[in-house]
Amino acid sequence: MEQTELVKPDTLEDLIQTLHKLFESDSVNVEEVQSIMESYDSKPHEWMKYATFDQYRYTRNLVDEGNGKFNLMILCWGEGHGSSIHDHTDSHCFLKLLQGQLKETLFDWPDHKLQAGMLQKSQQVLLENQCAYINDSLGLHRVENVSHTETAVSLHLYSPPFQTCRTFDQRTGHHNSVKMTFWSKFGERTPYRSTASQVPVL
């Protein structure tokens, strides 16, 4: 395995360049990526252009396509905005707080034979600059901005990139596949006209 000289990224651009290097090979060193993402001190003026809020729901704003190896995006959460319980389609998911706080609730995969509700496994509040990690083998999660006074902004990295995932009904464990959409790409608004069965979600 290559040894990469890793310097703490000063700017968001530095972080993106470092991530490109880290994802050059096909294997992902989860601890290294998590550590590098955590070590970038969030500077709002560097990511403001990607951070557009919607009154009614959180937005997903694509920042970088990682040479096809990953998707890097910024999510903007208004007060009270939250996601469904969802999986990550066999990909790595890194989540770093750039502003505010997010609550992450972990769930086990539902047991379809039991047809019962899903009980939460654990919960944590992610603080500014912290970086969490999840993949399907660790379970499912719901992410929420539970604050009624503050917005939240988070930086997400998914590798390999994916366009659909499953969302779960906590009451029954039933799931649906959903297509994921972007509010903006590279700072430009990209409206999505949804068709019948497609529901935009994280």
Partner: protein
């Protein structure tokens, strides 16, 4: 909707946040400079009072004094006749903190989330030009019926309070697009909410709802509905308590459903009044009426082919069956006639 303050005209926006200010002196500003300022940010300071010098910014339209230690908003704020937006989140304000005639200011956006309001101040309920009211994360115990006066309201954020009941008067807010009632103690939604024709997003997560009123289906513009964290029933409850109707009710039902003729001088006034209270059974195939005695009937309706939501309506009796099913007690019932088409309610967050 961009949340960051406008940077278009630097001279019109004054940023004085995070400066550990416990007071503010703007005496050094010329009159013309003072009149230029349209936005003032004084967040994350140590203000106990709104500085008097703020009131000489005669063209001020936007004031953000969030995250200070304010206990009162003094009367002299009323000098700011152009003020349209007041943001004072995370302070120590309560229902006695505001000027008694604050409604004369014609403020359009008021965000007072994260304070100590135990009730909505009387003055706020007279602000007929108010478009956006946020009182999230306070201690509100109820929503007063006078909320109906806020006919310009487009956003009402009341998440994170102690509210257990939604008055039907909320239905008067026909301009309302975004209604947030999450993280409260609400047990039921009034059916009159279907009159909120402009509603685009309804946030009800983390409450005590076991079902929703059937009328919610008529909110045709609704795109977002959050219901997670409610004890919504997932299975049809077979044991519905039913109080048999009184003799007076049975007589009243017979008179109404048989259209028995009578004139007001035939009956004492209390019985005339009673007969006028008859409600029609919502089952369109049933011509019956009921007065006080009815049965709560829950049906599961498919939303967008994805989620089954328990919707409730009243029927005149347990024998009154739905037009769609042969057995109203059926567990596997879903109502195709009334299932919500997939292009509506795009994002129902159930879990």
């Amino acid at each position: 909707m961009v949340r960051f303050p406008s940077m278009d005209d630097k001279c019109a926006v004054l940023h004085l946040s995070r400066l550990q200010l416990d007071d503010l002196n703007l005496d050094h500003l010329t009159d013309s400079k003072r009149q230029q300022i349209q936005q003032l940010h004084l967040t994350y300071n140590r203000l106990l009072l709104l500085p008097t010098s703020v009131c000489f910014l005669s063209n001020l339209e936007y004031l953000d004094i969030s995250s200070n230690a304010l206990t009162v908003i003094p009367d002299y704020i009323m000098r700011l006749t152009n003020l349209k937006t007041v943001v004072a989140k995370n302070n120590l304000l309560d229902e006695s903190s505001f000027p008694k005639e604050f409604e004369r200011m014609q403020v359009e956006t008021l965000n007072l989330s994260g304070n100590r309001f135990g009730e909505i101040p009387v003055q706020f309920l007279k602000m007929t030009t108010l478009q956006s009211l946020s009182l999230g994360g306070n201690r509100l115990k109820n929503i007063p019926a006078e909320i109906k006066n806020l006919t310009s309201l487009e956003l009402l954020y009341l998440g994170g309070n102690l509210i257990s009941f939604i008055p039907p008067e909320v239905a008067n807010l026909t301009s309302l697009r975004y209604l947030v009632l999450c993280d409260n103690r609400i047990q039921s939604i009034p059916p009159q909410l279907n009159k909120l024709h402009s509603l685009l997003s309804l946030s009800l997560h983390n409450n005590l709802l076991t079902f929703l009123p059937r009328e919610i289906l008529s909110l045709v513009h609704l795109q977002e509905l959050s219901l997670r964290g409610n004890p919504l029933v997932v299975r049809f409850i077979k044991d519905m308590t039913y109080d048999p109707p009184s003799l007076m009710e049975l007589a009243g039902r017979t008179i109404k459903s048989q259209n028995l003729p009578f004139s007001s001088c035939d009956l004492p006034s209390n019985l005339n009044h009673y007969l006028n209270l008859a409600s029609e059974c919502p089952n369109p195939k049933c011509a019956g009426v009921y007065f006080d005695s009815c049965v709560r009937h829950i049906k599961f309706v498919d939303f967008c082919g994805k989620y089954r939501l328990p919707l409730m309506h009243y029927l005149c009796s347990p024998q009154c069956s739905s037009p769609c099913s042969s057995n109203p007690q059926s567990d596997a019932e879903s109502e195709d006639e009334n299932s919500v088409p997939a292009d509506r309610l795009q994002r129902v967050l159930l879990g």
